[in-house]
Symmetry: C2
Subunit: 342 residues, 2 copies
């Protein structure tokens, strides 16, 4: 479906390489990750970004750490590495989910080949989750429809099909004609640099807009639905995602448009009761000030919280879960229970 895109994460014979997304689309280059510090740096500086991709990269980083130390000291090193990786970015749940899964295995089986296989399994499962999201959301993309998305929850954020983009890629492969509007997503312009680029590469009709233009397009009847990704969905259905997502959800509510969130079950956080309990990463003011030497302060929250009341539904690997239905999140709660048992 998307074979022209460079892979976000490359893992070959125990060597980890991450596509440096800060330089896209101008430059396609890879960072070699041989140490824990390099992995943390890549996550913190957004060389690798997108909730699922961060989780995959962190899982492989745990395998890299495991490979650099004798078995006797391996568990202690992995416990420390888990702390460091999780602290690199606090908001996306996939990061701690993947790291904790690696750690759980390490406590029962410390062999390097088992740890590597586990990281590969996380990567493989992510591909499957994305494909299932695509299958469950594809029918939303009807001929002629116009979809607005925000940030990048595409192939670059995940693997293969992306999350928010998975229904789009499958519909496109099935020959459905539709249009995508991509929010540029200030301050780091993931929509302009990544989403618009990856969709255009795949031959999908994509139009870039500034974040502030969505309202006028909706007022003019030019948008039929919004589909975004998410960094964490809490137990009550609140959606934590890239700053600007809440803005779109309020607009959809006002203009009576559906607001969908693509959410792999690995991004559902059954432990956290609501968005109010999520630590929102505050990034450097310099990203907003853009190098202007003003005597001006700036705020730079990386994420916002969209209350469940503004969400139409989640497109998940467990089905299209409509918030208006009774117990819409039950399939994700089941999945979470199974995972914590396993």
């Amino acid at each position: 479906v998307n074979s022209t895109l460079p892979a976000t994460v490359i893992w070959q014979q125990g060597q980890l390489q991450l596509l440096d997304q800060r330089r896209l689309p101008e430059q396609i280059s890879y960072l070699e990750i041989n140490t824990l510090a390099q992995a943390c740096e890549a996550i913190r500086t957004l060389a690798v970004r997108g909730a699922p991709a961060i989780g995959i990269a962190a899982a492989y980083a745990m395998a890299v750490v495991a490979g650099g130390v004798a078995e006797a000291r391996r568990l202690a090193e992995l416990e420390a590495a888990a702390q460091a990786l999780q602290a690199a970015r606090p908001t996306a749940v996939n990061l701690s989910w993947a790291v904790q899964r690696m750690l759980r295995l390490a406590r029962s089986d410390i062999r390097l080949e088992r740890l590597r296989a586990e990281a590969e399994a996380i990567h493989d499962e992510d591909r499957s989750l994305c494909r299932a999201i695509g299958v469950n959301g594809q029918h939303l993309i009807t001929p002629g429809c116009r979809v607005l998305t925000h940030c990048n929850a595409g192939a670059l954020a995940v693997s293969e099909l992306g999350t928010a983009t998975a229904p789009l890629y499958l519909a496109h492969a099935a020959g459905v004609e539709f249009r995508v509007f991509a929010d540029e997503t200030r301050p780091l312009l993931q929509g302009a640099r990544l989403t618009a680029w990856e969709l255009a590469q795949a031959g999908i009709d994509v139009t870039l807009i500034c974040d502030s233009m969505a309202a006028t397009l909706m007022a003019q009847g030019e948008i039929d639905m919004v589909i975004v990704g998410t960094d964490r969905v809490t137990r009550n259905g609140d959606v934590v995602n890239k700053i600007g997502t809440l803005n779109l959800a309020v607009l959809c509510h006002h203009y009576q448009l559906p607001f969908y969130v693509a959410c792999p079950s690995s991004t559902f956080d059954a432990q956290t009761p609501s968005g109010a309990a999520v630590h929102i990463e505050q990034r450097p003011a310099s990203e907003v000030l853009d190098g202007r030497a003003a005597q001006v302060k700036a705020l730079n929250p990386a994420f916002d919280v969209t209350p469940a009341a503004l969400v139409t539904g989640l497109i998940t690997d467990r089905g299209l879960l409509r918030y208006a239905d009774a117990n819409p999140l039950a399939p994700l709660l089941d999945a979470a229970t199974q995972t914590s048992r396993s």
Copy 2:
């Protein structure tokens, strides 16, 4: 109040200079305007911007044109100049208002000194309008209040006090402590480059945010009101202003916050029934694409239309006009009638 700021428009002994706002705040430089073509170029490329400032600059440009031609051919030249100036930017009503006022005079009195005096009168009246807006809106700025604004409707857009900023400057001069949040205002960043800079210069507490962050600040109770400027208010009270204004109005409606528009009576357009009838300038896609060589389309409407139903009121030189009142726009309609009579 704002003596550290460079003047937007300088007129001395029949010579016109315009502050080149494209280079602010890094560089303070002036364009000399000796020809009609130079004036049109300065307006089209946003060297001079802000609805009232464009009107003032165009009035002086008419005086420059008048000075370059003998009396016998002057009226014909001014008629042609009026067409060219009005076409330079189609949306702001002040541009055609000022040009038509100059033309009206020229048809009855073609003497150069009268034309120059008329342009100076337009400039002087603008200062008075801004001061009156400040006086009529100052009481809204209560101690501790937090005001969000968009684009630049400040001193740089107008003269002296600005429009949306006039209540802020007067409250600051009166010793009231308050905070301003400035939307950066993509794609041309007038909020980041101009508003944040001019307010900081004046010693006002200002924090820059990306346009997409307003929703989360409102959700957290960090904003008490929005005050923006406008390029045109139509007869039914619709507000045409910088793209992103409608977005804020919808957010204010959702979070039950007041949404005020600072509007000099020269910006009220009694001839146009509603925002639907206003020609919205579409600017080059390259401003949004930011030089990225993507195979991606982009939209770049410069303005949006906020329906009257989302507006709390207009802060005008004729008083604070609350849309919930009966016939709130009557004072502006009176002013328009007087102007067209005069």
